[in-house]
């Protein structure tokens, strides 16, 4: 606790770096998960296989995946960034599928029958209605990514994980505590903000 009080700038900067890492990864992950999710949503027979594969990837221990990525990308921002994007796919794609398939079939039928192209059906009917579920998926993914991003302190010198891993190496528990508390606070804050967004989208 005392560390947080004595080093607000340092913790603040690391927190900003943590948010930047997670934020960027989330944007890129979403850009990938949307087409993947849409692909799966349109193919009900293929969907369980696709989501199952992403789920299997999700169970790979993060450190193991990170080790492989460090081999490919070296140390720094890149490996942890890629790891976050990969892990987020499962949660995001799954919610894209749930959101899209959750739209009333009759509405989709009426949309096509009215002469909307597939893209217009998606943009004007399916996505707006899938929004609350999508944002819910983003929220869950964001929380998980905030946690996994602590490993950025291990391989990249990025984020609040730096406090935790430095604290471990230097045997300074108050650094570890400070880092952990800050990560938790960040997760709670992000959760709150996204819950508000979810509620707003439902309205």
């Amino acid at each position: 606790m005392s560390y947080l009080v004595e080093h607000p700038m340092r913790v603040g900067l690391l927190a900003a770096g943590h948010l930047e890492l997670v934020g960027l990864a989330l944007v890129v992950a979403l850009a990938l998960a949307l087409p993947i999710g849409l692909f799966a949503a349109r193919r009900p027979r293929l969907a369980p296989w696709l989501l199952g594969t992403l789920g299997a990837i999700y169970t790979i221990p993060s450190l193991a995946l990170l080790a492989v990525l460090v081999q490919l990308f070296g140390l720094g921002f890149a490996p942890i960034f890629v790891a976050l994007v990969v892990y987020a796919q499962f949660m995001l794609a799954r919610n894209v599928v749930a959101g899209i398939t959750g739209v009333e079939r009759a509405q989709v039928d009426a949309a096509f029958g009215s002469g909307m192209s597939a893209g217009q059906v998606l943009w004007r009917v399916e996505l707006p209605q899938a929004m609350p579920v999508l944002i819910g998926g983003v929220r869950i993914a964001a929380i998980a990514m905030i946690a996994i991003a602590t490993l950025g302190g291990y391989v990249g010198g990025v984020g609040l994980g730096v406090l935790i891993f430095n604290g471990l190496t230097l045997h300074q528990p108050q650094m570890i505590v400070a880092g952990s508390l800050a990560v938790s606070a960040l997760a709670i804050l992000v959760d709150l903000l996204l819950r508000l967004a979810e509620r707003y989208a439902r309205a």
Binding site: Q107, A110, F112, G115, M116, Q120, V125
Partner: protein
Amino acid sequence: MNASVPGTMPPASITFERVTVRYPGSPKNAVEEVSLGIAGGELVVLLGPSGCGKSTLLRTVNRLVALSGGRVLVGGNDVAETDPVELRRGIGYVIQAIGLFTNMNVGQNVAVVPSLLGWNASEIDARVDELLRLIGLDPAAYRQRRPRELSGGEAQRIGVARAIAARPRALLMDEPFGAVDVVVRTALQRELVRIVAELRTTTLFVTHDVEEAFRLADRIVVMRDGRIEQIAEPIELFEHPQTPYVRELVHAGDEVYRRYFMRGRELLRAK
């Protein structure tokens, strides 16, 4: 053929030439060699039990169902040679579950096809007001409402308004009034007859309800197991049923039923 210019096109004929449909993975045809000609402005009812292929046949007209054999012509043009999106914007489509878009309000729902066709904002606004009045709803009160705030009857009326908003040359209706109660259904049927008479839109109407068929149809097409049993004007079915199934369906020979069905038809058209 510019379907976006309001009210200039005559109602389209619909022709089925030996239409066959088989769903993938199904052992038999849902629709088997159906040939049928519908003249512009006619209201034709496809009548039959569930699974007889009537809905499938209906959906071949706007290409929501793909043909396995034969041709469908709308206004003389093979639908297979028309861009499906363009085709559907010129044909109204009403379904039993209605499918009003819950992320839009009533006005936006009704305005869907005109907006897809690129009408300008003032044209759209005027048309929405006109349509709401046509179906007996006050535009000021209903424009901003959301679908979940509507009763069954109101929702179905708005579904019809949405379907005819861009003055389509043909109208497809798949058991549209099945989900509402009897009193509301009669009101809706009356309104449909009035609207169709006014707009002279060619209408293809699917139902399993014999009474509804008798009330609405210029001609009835009785279907069973993917085939046509008989095509005839309502009274003709009653007086000259061509198959035992048709006879049983319409209670041919039973004077009470005959009077009942024909009375319903009259009531619907009373001023």
